[in-house]
Amino acid sequence: MKEYRTIAEISGPLVFVEKTEAVGYGELVHISLADGTTKRGQVLDTSKDMVVVQVFEGTAGIDKSSGVKFLGETVKINVSKDMLGRILSGSGEPIDGGPPIIPEKRIEITGAAINPWARDSPSEWIQTGISTIDGMNTLVRGQKLPVFSGSGLPHNEIALQIARQAKVVGKEEEEFAVVFAAMGITHEEAQQFIKDFERTGALKRAVIFLNLADDPAIERLITPRMALTSAEYLAFEQDMHILVILTDMTNYCEALRQIGAAREEVPGRRGYPGYLYTDLATIYERAGRIKGKKGSITQIPIISMPDDDITHPIPDLSAYITEGQQVLDRNLHRKGIYPPLNPLDSLSRLMRLGIGEGLTRGDHDQVANQLYAAYAEGNDLRGLVAIVGKESLSERDRKFLEFAEMFENEFIRQGRDEERGIEETLKIAWRLLSTLPKGVLVKIDRETMEKYYPKEQAAPKKEPSEKKEETPVEKKKVTPVKERVVKE
């Protein structure tokens, strides 16, 4: 293999090499330094005159006389079932002191798009044991559901709790594993993850890729692809159900921006490259199920929103690819509520595929709608109370206000190790809903009310008078039949 010593320019993370033979786009590159170390990179742009290489480990120490070798193959990863329980670097090398991974296969990390015709529709819900998720924004196998967070919020704890507790009820015997990819997180955070995996014994069914904050930024571009390639292998060739946690996607996007800037590309919004959407899609879309295959890939990317701004290009474009989002709320966090997941901002687009009779429970959809509506109303009233005071509220409004408080403290709040089954979650939901006048529960139809409304609390005296306060718009006495039939 030829070694070139024709570096023409080094600029940021990029190395420009001249007078090469034909080099393939995306080819893997080894650059050997005077001190004997080798850095790895990838071809980003190739032409007859010049080859542009992005160096994963950073360009520090490279000089114009460094040797450049083009390996003639693209970036691949060794995969095997033995990866489970291992800790690997951001570029797939073991860093846990263990032996190298004996590959059963070497796979290109770019990955191809799943043929839409080959995809199978997600249909099984995953119980995370967290009430706000299970009850109101249910996660479904094969879904990609990011956590939108901000600096200082406990997104890592939540991700860990999900990884620990996630299961498909009734199918606990199926093989389940976590693939965890860290991009630019701190040592401390990484330790937290690893310790927790060790503590709970989850490590032996996990593959961990670590690119830490002080690791080269450019390596972050391949870390999630390494992780997803391993996940695809485990899911679709080893029939396992894989939960992929990618943290933090914001760091990934910054690395992408860095490359774009170094190449002097025309920047898009906030300096991120114009192809950010497509690039993110090639990561997020590597989730799902395939017809005829047993395994599945569920993705939970974690995105920290700069300045909690949900319209920032990264969360904005992500939300257009992923099937919903779980949003962490700083206000809830300040109130000391864990997990501070705000159901009003969160959404699970695949929820309805996974819930209902035979999956969770027949009343789940209606209860979720009602909780959402009631909490939203109670939350709105808080603003009003700040102006007019609690005394001037009507009895009905006061109930909603109290409901919002209780909802946060009893439904949202739970312990870091507390695992609530769906029955328990719905039980809490009904208990809270029954504190409201029966007449305002307009999202729940009569049959469901009769079947699930807590018996001991039924028929308080003041009810008839309360019923009249229902807003005229919401009253639908002529369409009860329809309400039950319409299912979105």
């Binding site: 034909a22 080099v23 393939g24 786009y25 995306g26 980003l44 742009d45 190739t46 032409s47 007859k48 290109e108 770019t110 191809a112 798009a113 799943i114 043929n115 839409p116 015709w117 080959a118 995809r119 199978d120 529709s121 997600p122 094969g142 879904q143 679709f236 590309e265 025309v266 898009g268 114009g274 192809y275 959407y277 497509t278 899609a281 879309e285 590597r286 799902g288 395939i290 295959k293 949900i310 474009l317 257009y320 992923t322 099937e323 687009r349 709608n369 509506a373 005229p472 718009v473 919401e474 639908k476 002529v478 369409t479 039949v481 329809k482 309400e483 039939v485 319409v486 299912k487 979105e488």
Partner: protein
């Protein structure tokens, strides 16, 4: 796909790759025309010429370019991106460049790998060709030369290519493949059942007609309030949870467009899967056959190559035009045009073009209007009348309607169906907001409504809109002071508006009767509510309270009529009851 060029065998243009940067490849040594299809590299990846700079050719490649090297061969086909049009199109599922996805899966497994081509039309299949012309007939381009029964209920009319003209020398009948010659002209031209057409070129027609006929969908809020003309254009915001899918299904099932083309452009894989699994299960209510028999699906998810995404909407509209030329009414749904525009933006930035608003290329609105302009009701070259109606979904980021794609779209389209999350939350279906939606076809459709439905149809519609508008204003007051503070007339307005909402605007897609409402019935229902309102208005000054009127039995009956199979009978009963009750009330004063 690419035409196996029988005339030229044009392989003269072979050059080599100079540079590879992602999906954009630069080649030298070629003399192509703009938008020629080229095959790039050893794996023959398909691409399209999108720029010519001095001796260099800029190519966008439809597939992943990893591993492609400078110096590899680039072959110019000398032809633009063309589609195969002919029997076998119906019920197909294609990617953005007309590769059948089920065939791709058979060929290369669950992932879309590179360098694999598959013809758009099945070559093996034999179709029973029945000629509709005879030897000695003079035909011109685009004429119907015969038919093929593609499925039980669908007749595929075989068109002569648009440039074929002459006297028929021989014509065959019987089972033939799409590439077999079925007709020969005296000038030696051989006609096959399959023809090809470049996707970026609108298919020609004889004359464009005014959009004077509504596309009847059986959905009251659409037909009565915001009608779309056959050959018209409409936009719907594609936010999630607004019931977009249900609306699309209803349109596909019930509208009187015979052919449905659905383009899933840059959408989520799992959502596309839902479309791909649900559509084939839908039943055609008119024939009982699967709806897929008159449907073509084009699926290009967000992670499939961006250039193919850009091409997918053109693929869809070209197929739609082809069926239009046979004399069919076609509805094309593009979901979502925002993703399409983003593909343009991405390619534009790769070309280092000067960006316009929000990084979109400066030609964004020109491309949008070119696309929507391919809609229309026409007299085809064959003399038959057909139409393409385009319904495009837009997905504004963060729900911000001021962004360039939404604005560019709303400037062109004539109908806006504002799907509304708030209505959905209130379980108001279809969740189309009657205050923000609009249709600009009302004036051109006036004659049709007057003639085919009733002379006062539009007047009634105007009345209903006014009541609903008034309700919105009154609701603001009610929010502040409560409905008790309103005078009786205004409370009656609220009551009538509620009837309009519940009886006319709301429609249950899952109810076997209510799912489709004949345009005449829509009119009768509206008329009945107007009657109720008129009778009630007379009583208010006599001191009858709105509570009493709202509690009338006939009002309840009226609200149930739409669910009744014996619609006319039940309606009569409700109307008679109404007259009686109002008479009694009047007598009681």
């Amino acid at each position: 796909m690419i035409e196996n060029s029988d005339e030229s065998g044009a392989k003269d243009g072979a050059g080599e790759i100079y540079r590879v940067a992602g999906p954009v490849v630069t080649a030298i040594g070629l003399k192509p025309r703009m938008y020629d299809v080229v095959f790039v590299g050893e794996e023959s990846l398909m691409g399209e010429v999108i720029g010519l700079v001095r001796e260099k050719t800029i190519i966008q490649v439809y597939e992943d370019t990893t591993g492609v090297k400078p110096g590899e061969e680039v072959v110019d086909t000398g032809k633009p991106l063309v589609l195969e049009l002919g029997p076998g199109l119906l019920s197909s599922i294609y990617d953005g460049i007309q590769r059948p996805l089920p065939v791709l899966r058979e060929k290369m497994g669950d992932y879309v790998e590179r360098g694999v081509t598959a013809p758009g039309l099945d070559r093996e299949k034999s179709w029973n060709f029945v000629p509709s012309i005879q030897e000695g007939d003079q035909i011109n381009g685009g004429a119907i030369i015969g038919t093929v029964q593609e499925s039980e209920h669908m007749e595929h009319r075989i068109l002569a290519p648009t440039d074929a003209e002459g006297t028929v020398q021989s014509i065959k009948e019987g089972g033939y493949g799409v590439e077999d010659v079925v007709c020969t002209l005296d000038n030696g031209k051989n006609l096959k059942m399959m023809q090809t057409w470049p996707v970026r070129v609108p298919r020609p027609y004889k004359e464009k007609l005014m959009p004077e006929i509504p596309l009847i969908t059986g959905q009251r809020v659409l037909d009565t309030f915001f009608p779309l003309a056959k050959g018209g254009t409409a936009a719907i915001p594609g936010g999630f949870g607004t019931g977009k899918t249900v609306t699309q299904h209803q349109l596909s099932k019930w509208s009187d467009a015979k052919i449905v083309v659905y383009v899933g452009c840059g959408e989520r894989g799992n959502e596309m899967t839902e479309v791909l699994t649900e559509f084939p299960e839908l039943e055609d209510p008119w024939t009982g056959a699967p709806l897929m028999q008159r449907t073509i699906l084009i699926a290009n998810t967000s992670n499939m190559p961006v250039a193919a995404r850009e091409a997918s909407v053109y693929t869809g509209v070209t197929i739609a035009e082809y069926f239009r030329d046979m004399g069919y009414h076609v509805s094309l749904m593009a979901d979502s045009t925002s993703r399409w525009a983003e593909a343009m933006r991405e390619i534009s930035s790769r070309l280092e073009e000067m960006p316009g608003e929000e990084g979109y290329p400066a030609y964004l609105s020109a491309r949008l209007s070119e696309f929507y302009e391919r809609a229309g009701r026409v007299t085809a070259l064959s003399g038959s009348e057909g139409s393409v109606s385009i319904i495009g979904a837009v997905s504004p980021p963060g729900g911000d309607f001021s962004e360039p794609i939404t604005q560019g779209t709303l400037r062109i389209v004539k109908v806006f169906w504002a799907l509304d999350t708030k209505l959905r939350e209130r379980r108001h279906f279809p969740a189309i907001n009657w205050l923000t939606s609009y249709s600009l076809y009302l004036s051109t459709l006036e004659d049709w409504f007057t003639k085919e439905v009733a002379p006062d149809f539009l007047r009634l519609r105007g009345w209903a809109m006014a009541v609903l508008q008034k309700e919105a204003e009154l609701q603001e007051i009610v929010q502040l002071v409560g409905s008790d503070a309103l005078p009786e007339e205004q409370r009656l307005t609220l009551e009538v508006a509620r009837m309009l909402r519940e009886i006319i605007l709301q429609q249950n897609a899952y109810h076997k009767v209510d799912t489709y409402s004949d345009i005449k019935r829509q009119y009768i229902l509206l008329q009945s509510i107007k009657k109720f309102s008129d009778l009630a208005t007379r009583l208010i000054p006599l001191g009858i309270s709105v509570e009493v009127i709202a509690g009338l039995n006939s009002k309840l009956l009226l609200s149930k009529v739409k669910y009744e199979e014996k619609f006319d009978e039940e309606l009569d009963r409700a109307l008679n009851k109404m007259e009686d009750e109002f008479k009694n009330l009047e007598a009681s004063t």
